[in-house]
């Protein structure tokens, strides 16, 4: 079980950074640039990890990225990778979808604790924006999750995944999928819901004061967490995957759509994004819920 979990974390780490590299490349092409090499983010994270921290704001400042990493890893380990496989299941038999939804909040909370302790008002401004946006962001996703749990009469991610042999939930419950997907864009930190880390408005975003290995941890957990979120979407709506190749293909399609949408839309302000999320995707998902 331990090796299985380690393999899950390693795969998420590699694919997470690979996708991040792709994101930077695709965005660059959209902007008419060439962009960095694919493995650049991967090297960045290792380089940063070997560097020393420049400033020390006390132990709570350091605990922030560690809590974020715990959030990312625990979320990942409670989501099975493959459909019907004994491998790469992690601890998914000990958890369920409700638990995963709560573990996903640990990352923003860890971020909030770390940033809050450094005394930089701009960082906390970003955090408040993030937590406010979370109000709107979680609502459509929760509704979709509730719909799926009621339809499958189970909160077990494995059960929801295997019950899709006759048709993916994305097609049998299209409205729930649309609602959840718009939320998912926000969870991935893509436009138009990326005001939290907006470098122009909030001077380099919430991560203003991190440096060295703690910045590396923050980056790595973001890669692992992105992959966990892609994995969750694939398992819930796209029927999971029988093999790693299928998993990569499905997560990549989802990721590509998210990146392209993110590149097209301009940024919402916090109030705008909450209002939009509470009106449009929530409304769509609620109608979908009524069909269930």
């Amino acid at each position: 079980m331990f090796l299985d979990s380690l393999a899950m974390i390693a795969l998420a780490y590699i694919f997470g950074f690979l996708y991040y590299g792709l994101y930077r490349n695709i965005s660059a092409r959209v902007h008419g640039r060439f962009g960095p090499s694919l493995a650049q983010s991967f090297f960045d994270s290792i380089k940063l990890f070997l560097k020393e921290n420049s400033t020390n704001f006390g132990w709570m400042f350091y605990a922030g990225p560690i809590i974020m990493m715990i959030g990312a890893i625990t979320t990942l380990l409670f989501i099975p990778y493959l459909n019907g496989s004994e491998h790469l299941v992690g601890l998914s038999q000990y958890g369920n979808l409700i638990l995963v939804l709560y573990l996903m909040v640990l990352e923003p909370l860890g971020n909030a604790m770390g940033i809050g302790s450094n005394g930089n008002p701009f960082g906390v401004m970003g955090i408040t924006r993030g937590l406010t946006r979370l109000i709107g962001l979680e609502l459509p996703f929760y509704i979709a999750a509730i719909g799926l749990m009621i339809a499958n009469h189970s909160a077990d991610i494995g059960v929801i995944m295997t019950n899709q042999s006759e048709g993916y939930n994305a097609f049998t419950h299209p409205l729930l999928f649309i609602g959840a997907f718009i939320s998912f864009l926000g969870f991935m930190g893509k436009s138009p819901f990326d005001v939290v880390g907006a470098p122009q408005e909030v001077y380099s975003g919430p991560a203003t004061e991190f440096s060295g290995k703690f910045f590396a941890i923050a980056l790595s957990q973001s890669a692992i967490f992105s992959f966990a979120k892609l994995l969750l979407m694939v398992n819930l709506f796209l029927g999971g995957a029988q093999s790693l190749v299928e998993l990569v293909a499905k997560t990549f399609v989802l990721f590509l759509v998210a990146v392209l949408v993110g590149n097209v839309y301009a940024r919402f302000t916090t109030a705008q994004s909450v209002e939009f999320l509470v009106r449009v995707p929530t409304g769509i998902a609620l109608v979908g819920l009524l069909f269930v």
Binding site: E52, S54, T55, N56, F57, G58, Y62, I66, I70, T74, L91, Y94, G95, N96, I98, L99, Y102, V105, L106, P108, L109, M113, S117, N118, G119, N120, P121, F122, V124, M125, I127, T128, L131, T132, L134, I135, E138, L139, Y142, I143, I146, G147, M149, I150, H153, S154, A155, D156, Y203, S204, T208, E209, G212, K213, I217, V274, E275, V278, L286, L289
Partner: protein
């Protein structure tokens, strides 16, 4: 005359009372009135162990009055008036319901009351009267009007008792009267559906109100209202599993509010300040208090791996089982919004920049830590052994005639929808934390300790003491830009109650006028009275 019985339900509530009172009495507090506290404690015992309706009512009244005199020591007269008017109304409503039940059932003993003897037409009014009592005591909207001011102005330690225990008297009354005395088969489900929605609307509104508060204790008061909203919602499903989830959340909320109110009381004791805008950056001065508050808010937010997640999980799965999807959406929405006030609480006090100097701070007696430690240890324990709560509730469910939940191990919390293992969860958290810590500390680092708090990235400028760098003041204000939250924040039931108060004032003036008329008019009224009597007699 008075009848008592030891029941599993009474034992649970009295056990909680004992934990709260015993741990709080250890705190040295020169403003505490011990006889009144003992009277209050005794009255709670009377309520929880009563086995006839009259005893219950007597206990209820003593509880309301003894807490009135305790609150009177520090509260303003308006707050006291609000408190007593609402709680008298609760008492009268309870008395009315009891009189109606006893008049038809012919007995006051819980075990002998047959609600089937009460005529159909009276069952709804009795239920409504009991709703009013429960809603007032537990602070369900629109009867929460007295709660916030009372919590804010009470003695800081007594607020913990108010929130942790006294608000639970309403929950206890709900379970005892509807499931034990009346029986669910005689109740109208539609009325309880409305109550369930009232509960969840209460929690949503109170959550947003809590986020926008500037006073520490007002935030906690609104948070109490919100949390009890969940309990009422899940109890109003009229299910055994609903009682289980409600009781679990009762335990968690009692412990969390004991911890948080004592923590806030400690901060107020040390600093003498009560607003977020006056505090900040106390983390490194009081790290133990910070960690205790962190445990408290993790449990309050219902985050794994602490006990708070268990009760949220049971609430969600109970709503899922009953297919109350919209209710569940509303509960989850409120629950997701609660992260913001949890963060405001910890950031405003312990993180960020200090507002003002730290001179004149008093040293905190060790006794303030004891209640917090007790609550924190139980919350962690429940996180590892989630089915400990189920083991505790099974005798209660059995005694009330519901199906008992089964569990294979104390580590695992099992429901029809899903299960999770608290031991594995806590173990994983511990392991990952230890591994990362090992990885990080194994490399030597020469990071420069920031001495000057103003040494931060500040858009290329250097902030000086004139810049207010503590964001705790403004946090939650920007929510007003979101239209539906603005509607919630700008409206309150105060205008509604003030209207009622004005109406009753005007009508009392009219009645008073009758008495201040001349003697000739009084003679006229007497004549009129007898004429009407005569007229009725002839007919």
């Amino acid at each position: 005359m008075f009848n008592f019985a030891m029941t599993p339900l009474g034992n649970l509530f009295f056990g909680l009372t004992l934990i709260v009172f015993a741990s709080l009495l250890l705190i040295k507090n020169e403003r505490r009135d011990l006889p009144l506290h003992i009277l209050l404690f005794a009255s709670l015992g009377v309520i929880f162990y009563a086995s006839d309706l009259i005893t219950l009512f007597v206990g209820w009244e003593i509880m309301s009055w003894s807490s009135y005199f305790i609150i009177a020591k520090s509260a303003r007269i308006e707050t006291l008036q609000k408190y007593i008017i609402f709680n008298l109304a609760a008492g009268f409503a309870l008395l009315g319901a009891i009189v109606l039940i006893v008049a038809f059932a012919g007995t006051t003993l819980y075990g002998e009351i047959d609600f089937g003897k009460v005529p159909e037409a009276l069952r709804v009014p009795i239920t409504l009267l009991l709703f009013v009592t429960i809603a007032i005591k537990s602070g369900i909207m629109p009867f929460h009007y007295w709660v916030v001011d009372t919590y804010e102005e009470s003695d800081h330690i007594f607020s913990a008792i108010l929130s942790a225990i006294i608000s639970k008297a309403g929950i206890f009354l709900f379970i005892v009267i509807f499931s034990q005395i009346i029986g669910y088969r005689y109740l109208h489900g539609s009325l309880f559906d409305i109550l369930a929605w009232l509960g969840v609307i209460t929690s949503i509104v109170a959550t947003f109100k809590a986020i926008s508060q500037e006073e520490l204790k007002r935030l906690l008061a609104y948070s109490s209202i919100a949390q009890i909203g969940y309990i009422v919602t899940v109890l109003a499903l009229l299910e055994g599993s609903g009682i289980e989830a409600g009781l679990y959340h009762t335990i968690i909320h009692t412990l969390v509010k004991l911890l948080l109110f004592v923590n806030i009381a400690s901060i107020i004791y040390i600093t003498g300040k009560t607003k977020f805008s006056q505090l900040g950056n106390l983390l490194y001065d009081y790290p133990a208090l910070f960690i205790l508050l962190l445990i408290g808010i993790i449990a309050l937010a219902g985050m794994p791996p602490l006990g708070g997640f268990n009760s949220k999980f049971l609430i969600y799965t109970t709503l899922l089982e009953k297919k109350k999807a919209l209710l569940l959406v509303a509960v989850m929405f409120s629950s997701a919004s609660a992260f913001l006030y949890c963060y405001k609480l910890i950031y405003g006090i312990y993180l960020g920049q200090a507002s003002g100097d730290k001179e004149g701070y008093r040293e905190l007696p060790m006794s303030f830590y004891i209640p917090q430690f007790i609550a924190a240890i139980i919350l962690v324990l429940l996180g590892i052994l989630p089915s400990l709560g189920i083991a505790l509730f099974n005798p209660i469910l059995g005694s009330l005639g519901f199906e008992v939940s089964s569990y294979s191990s104390l580590f695992e919390l099992h429901t029809a929808f899903a299960s999770f293992n608290g031991g594995v969860l806590m173990g994983l958290f511990g392991l990952v934390f230890a591994l990362i810590l090992l990885l990080v500390t194994s490399m030597r680092s020469k990071a420069v300790k920031v001495r000057d708090r103003y040494d931060i990235s500040y858009c290329g400028e250097t902030p000086d003491p004139q810049n207010n760098l503590h964001y705790g003041y403004g946090m939650g204000q920007e929510l007003r830009r979101i239209s539906f939250i603005r509607v919630i924040l700008e409206n309150s039931t105060a205008t509604y109650w003030e209207h009622i108060s004005k109406l009753s004032g005007d009508s009392s003036v009219m009645v008073k006028k009758l008495y201040s008329l001349g003697t000739q008019y009084i003679g006229l009224f007497i004549l009129l009275f007898f004429t009407i009597l005569l007229f009725l007699g002839v007919r």
